[in-house]
């Protein structure tokens, strides 16, 4: 199994390893930045900052090593990124989060299904609308009446 058919890139200095290393280092740097004033304590009595600081430094260091290795030893090239499904599926979840408690499960489900259906390769209005209505009904029947989960159904 080769990993999803990654090909070598024409610009070997920007490859999977370089970006992954930068990402890890960025997480480590964020850990250091936000945890800077957490009390460290001592080895015997560790404060809340001891382990997070150690892990953050580790991430920064290891991220750096991965970047260097990516630059000098090369790594798998980048594949094409598709922004459309990524943006739309995330938007669908956020729309659901925003709408659920104010307008209820039906409206939130319809919004989620319509927006996430837009992310697919073959988008058809009629089909998406029918799917949205069908799934909203199913969600209310299953979760509100079947499993009795407490959530509003309608805006009123």
């Amino acid at each position: 199994m080769s990993r999803n058919g990654a090909t070598m890139n024409a610009h070997p200095r920007v490859n999977q390893d370089v970006l992954a290393g930068l990402l890890f280092a960025a997480f480590g740097a964020a850990g250091l930045w936000f945890g800077w004033n957490y009390p460290l304590g001592s080895v015997l009595r560790m404060g809340p900052g001891y382990v997070p600081m150690a892990l953050s430094w580790g991430l920064v260091a290891l991220g750096g090593v991965i970047v260097l290795r990516g630059i000098f030893a090369g790594g798998a090239g980048l594949e094409r990124w598709r922004a459309r499904p990524l943006a739309l599926v995330c938007a669908a979840l956020i729309a659901f989060a925003v709408l659920l408690e104010s307008t209820g499960l039906v409206a939130a489900s319809v919004a989620l299904v319509l927006v996430s259906a837009l992310a697919g390769p073959q988008w058809r209005w009629r089909e998406a609308a029918m799917l949205a209505v069908g799934l909203a009904i199913a969600a209310v029947a299953l979760f509100v009446y079947g499993l009795r989960l407490p959530m509003p159904v309608w805006p009123f």
Partner: protein, 499 residues
């Protein structure tokens, strides 16, 4: 004869009508998601976790376990019939299973897969029943240093067994550990990385991370490849020929052995077992050129191995309370919802629960053979549901599932964030499994590290002075060494490539 008594108790629990029903539901749901490609057992378990709150503990765990091993069966069905692995652990079954189907031997491939799985499931059930009591007794002696070293071994195991770059896998573990520490510190109450958000006070929800990194990210990846209707093939006669049986038997035995061992390893489970069993069969075969062209062993070995591995991965969970893979972590979540603290004490305090789950695994395996073989046509029909109709439903299930855990819309939004992160990780060649293990073990490891150092008055050598702790760390070091040594690294890459 203690073993027989225990198993008798287990079957008495597993064969009550209620538990049989939930075992059947689990097996059916598992087969269903195994057949459907866009949705894996992890996301399904995460989604169903909230509903188990309303069930009695035994029924809840029996159902969840059924989903896990049911998915192994369902996944192999689509692998054989349409060359599409429903589950990642069925990837290798595609190689020879689909070739057999193209030669008109789909029926015997399916039957061999099902019977090999049933045999492996039976053996694995016995392995669990025999191995668990002594391990539990040993684990009752564990103190903080041993627990810390055990978890260290688990993390190293997940790093070693992850596919791809070793350094990136270690970085994923560190990131997971750090994410696991978000929330109020247990000892001081100090809020770490919460950014004033109420929902982060108790830490990032496990379901949020798992659903984002596995469920949502998987949908995003699937949406990239254009969908085409899978070409289905005729099933043909179900009974394998005598010649096929003769080839399948020894391969099943070897696959079961490999799966039973690899399943117990931290980071192991169904996926690794199937790859390893296939690579092993190919290596010892006198006619390796038949592999990839419809070799019976290439179906029997990985199918028995993934089922055995799926089941023996319950051993560390049931005896030590330590998850060996993300699915087992979800099972811990399910036990905690029921008010059971997983660990070596469960077997002694709740024997009915413990042995009931084990016995139900065997019952479930038997049910799966019955569900899968005669009803195969129904499952194949399901494949005709186009993905463009399926994935919005899955996204909706994820959203409602996350919300229902804590009635928090912030967590739904956070799931979107982890979904995006999972997509980025995929594009950068970083496997998410080590991260999720680090995430679960983060707070536990910090707690046990602190306790161990208090016991030893601040002497970090405590981990090397206690014999059990020392041997666990030695095993971890050995594992790491095996991967770092360049010669062995090459064979590791080769083993995965052959898969």
């Amino acid at each position: 004869m203690e073993l027989l008594e225990n198993l008798a108790l287990g079957f008495a629990v597993a064969l009550t009508p209620q538990n049989l029903l939930f075992c059947l539901i689990g097996a059916l749901v598992g087969t269903l998601i195994g057949v459907l490609p866009g949705i894996g057992p992890l996301a399904t378990l995460a989604m169903l976790l909230p509903t188990t709150f309303y069930l009695p503990p035994v029924a809840a765990l029996i159902m969840l376990a059924g989903i896990y091993y049911g998915a192994q069966y369902g996944g192999s069905t689509t692998a054989i019939l349409v060359n599409m692995p429903g589950e990642s652990s069925s990837v290798v079954t595609c190689l020879d299973g689909y070739q057999m189907a193209r030669q008109g031997r789909a029926g015997s491939a399916l039957a061999i897969a099902a019977l090999a799985s049933l045999f492996a499931g039976t053996v694995a059930t016995l392995v669990i029943a025999v191995a668990s009591p002594p391990l539990s007794r040993l684990a009752l002696k564990f103190l903080a240093p041993e627990y810390f070293s055990l978890m260290m071994l688990g993390l190293i195991g997940s790093v070693v067994l992850a596919r791809g770059s070793l350094l990136k896998a270690i970085a994923m573990v560190l990131l997971g550990l750090l994410l696991g520490l978000v929330g109020a510190d247990v000892n001081s109450g100090w809020e770490r990385y919460t950014f004033g958000l109420a929902t982060l006070g108790d830490g990032i929800g496990f379901v949020v991370v798992a659903m984002g990194l596995f469920g949502i990210a998987e949908i995003l990846i699937n949406l990239e490849s254009a969908e085409g209707p899978p070409a289905s093939v005729a099933i043909g006669r179900l009974m394998p020929t005598r010649a096929e049986m003769k080839l399948a038997w020894p391969a099943t035995l070897r696959g079961t052995a490999i799966g039973s061992v690899l399943g117990v390893l931290p980071g192991g489970g169904a996926l690794l077992s199937s790859f390893a069993a296939y690579a092993f069969e190919k290596r010892i075969s006198r006619t390796p050129e038949r592999f990839g062209a419809g070799a019976v062993e290439g179906v029997a070995a990985p199918e028995s191995a993934n089922n055995a591995g799926a089941q023996t991965s319950f051993i560390p969970l049931l005896t030590l309370g330590i998850p060996s893979n993300p699915i087992m972590a979800l099972m811990i979540g399910a036990m905690m919802i029921q008010g059971i603290t997983p660990g070596p004490q469960v077997m002694g305090e709740q024997p009915a629960l413990f042995w009931g789950i084990i016995a139900s695994m065997w019952v479930g395996n038997l049910m799966l053979v019955i569900i899968n073989l005669p009803m195969i046509g129904i499952w194949v029909k399901l494949l005709e549901v186009p993905y463009r109709l399926l994935y919005p439903a899955i996204v909706l299930l994820c959203a409602v599932g996350v919300y229902s855990l804590n009635n928090s819309t912030q967590e739904v939004a956070l799931t979107a964030l982890f979904g995006a992160l999972g997509y980025v990780f995929h594009k950068l060649g970083c496997e998410p499994a080590p991260l999720i293990l680090g995430f679960i073990l983060g707070p536990l490891m910090e707690e046990n590290l602190r306790r161990a150092l208090v016991i030893s008055r601040g002497d970090p050598l405590v981990f090397l002075q206690r014999p059990i702790s020392l041997s666990l760390l030695l095993v971890a070091g050995l594992l790491l060494l095996l991967v770092v040594l360049p010669q062995l690294r090459k064979t590791r890459a080769q083993a995965f490539r052959e898969g």
